[in-house]
């Protein structure tokens, strides 16, 4: 709607221009400013039809008012749905952009990312492989440990046996020695007992004599 309103002044100029027998459309002389066109053409129009200005403007206005379909067609052509060489140029630009982006971006970065993925996967797999190796090494270590433990326990047993024998031997020796000493001590004790008894016997005789002397005053 705004579109129709906006360009409703433009067809007026075009219509007047075509009335004044200039067949060149204002659209075709493009790179230059359209403003001079707008300023020039009304003046032409003025000079041509200064006498019949009123009637001509009336005709233009009525044609504007009575022929809306043709106006709409004109606007559509000129405005929104204006297909021209832009389309194939955009196609070409797009194909160029696709080629360039593929060469600069999609292919190299995609390849780089795929390579990185492959490298990471490979590394992960190799890590999994070494886990098997680690297991083997662990088994080996366990075997070594087992052997060492067995060896140590054997040595320990042997040593224990030896030590025990030695200890027993020493114990027996000690016991023998102690028994001998005990025997000796007993013998000496017996001896001392006898001596003491002997000494006591002699003393008993003397004492008893004393006692008798004291009790029996014989004198």
């Amino acid at each position: 709607m705004a579109n129709m309103l906006m360009s409703s002044s433009k067809p007026f100029v075009i219509a007047s221009a075509s009335l004044s027998s200039s067949t060149t459309k204002p659209k075709l002389s493009i790179p230059q400013l359209p403003l001079p066109n707008l300023t020039i053409k009304p003046s032409k129009f003025f000079t041509l039809s200064s006498s019949t200005l009123k009637s001509l403007s009336l005709v233009a206005a009525t044609s504007l008012a009575l022929a809306p379909p043709s106006l709409a067609v004109e606007i559509e052509k000129a405005a929104l749905f204006d297909f021209n060489l832009t389309l194939p140029i955009i196609v070409a630009e797009f194909l160029f952009l696709q080629f360039a982006l593929d060469k600069l971006y999609f292919s190299p970065l995609g390849k780089f990312m795929d390579d990185r993925d492959a490298a990471i996967r490979e590394k992960l797999n190799s890590v999994k492989d070494t886990s098997g190796e680690v297991k083997q090494l662990e088994e080996q270590a366990a075997a070594v440990m087992k052997a060492a433990r067995a060896e140590i326990s054997a040595a320990l047993n042997k040593m224990k046996k030896e030590t025990q024998a030695e200890v027993e031997q020493k114990l027996a020796e000690g016991r023998k020695k102690v028994e001998a000493e005990l025997q000796e001590a007993l013998v000496s004790l017996e001896l001392q007992k006898e001596e003491t008894l002997k000494a006591l016997d002699s003393q008993i005789a003397a004492l008893s004599r004393d006692i008798v002397n004291k009790v029996l005053p014989t004198a």
Binding site: A2, N3, L5, M6, S7, S8, S9, K27, L28, I30, P31, Q32, L33, P34, L35, L58, A61, A65, I75, A78, A79, L80, F81, D82, F83, N84, L85, T86, L87, P88, I89, I90, V91, E93, F94, L95, F96, L97, Q98, A100, L101, D102, L104, Y105, F106, S107, P108, L109, G110, F112, M113, R116
Partner: protein, 247 residues
């Protein structure tokens, strides 16, 4: 009649104040054909942004990515994910097409919303997102059509055309019609969304110059991204559809 002229003039005056320009183009003449210069200029800027950032970010890839490289890797992963979801295992050769579609549309839409194009005055028309122009969207949609025909024909040869009578031959007209509706809907969806978004923002700015248009602008950014994703996803879906075996 005076009233008519008067009302037209006042409306035109109002229109000039609001500064809305729809369907105004800066025309260049190339070999007897006309082109929309503002579309070409902005598309060159978009292409320059894309290529420049890609060169800077991917110039020297690191095993442990830097920030910008990380971002580009994320984008590439995203594009690959979209392609793979829609096309299937043979998505490899189509990544560049889908990715370029997505990036070009996305950067175009956002450039229309974020870059201050209005600073640069043109003699006629104004600079805006390249996807604001029907030529651009139709060009992209036609490329998509060519792409899915190419995909189907290279995959299955002439057997590809068997899909037109696939469920039953009765559906032949509808199947043929689909080949026209696909690019039509693709192009008009994008064109309409972007143009409408920019118009709404411009009109709101002209009415209330502060604060109020900001939510609409943010919504516009969101819509722009969604439209880029939709276009790329649908293009990939069409390619995947024409490549898959019909049962």
């Amino acid at each position: 009649m005076n009233v008519l002229l008067c009302s037209i003039n006042t409306l035109k005056g109002l229109y000039d104040i609001s500064g809305v320009e729809v369907g105004q183009h800066l025309y260049w003449q190339i070999g007897g054909f006309q082109v929309h210069a503002q579309v070409l200029i902005t598309s060159w800027v978009v292409i320059a942004i894309l290529l420049g950032s890609a060169i800077i970010a991917v110039r020297n890839p690191q095993t442990i990515p830097t920030d910008s490289q990380n971002f580009f890797e994320y984008v590439l992963e995203f594009i690959r994910d979209v392609s793979k979801t829609q096309i299937g295992e043979e998505y490899g050769p189509w990544v560049s097409f889908i990715g370029t579609l997505f990036l070009f549309i996305f950067v175009s839409n956002w450039s229309g919303a974020l870059l201050p194009w209005k600073i640069i005055q043109l003699p006629h028309g104004e600079l805006a997102a390249p996807t604001n122009d029907i030529n651009t969207t139709v060009a992209l949609a036609l490329l998509t059509s060519v792409a899915y025909f190419y995909a189907g024909l290279t995959k299955k040869g002439l057997g590809y055309f068997g899909k037109y009578i696939q469920p039953t031959p009765i559906l032949l007209p509808i199947n043929i019609l689909e080949d026209f509706t696909k690019p039509l809907s693709l192009s008009f969806r994008l064109f309409g969304n972007i143009l409408a978004d920019e118009l709404v923002v411009v009109v709101l700015v002209s009415l209330v110059p502060s604060v109020v248009p900001i939510p609409v602008m943010l919504l516009g950014l969101f819509t722009s991204g969604i439209q880029a994703l939709i276009f790329a996803t649908l293009a990939a879906a069409y390619i995947g559809e024409s490549m898959e075996g019909h049962h």
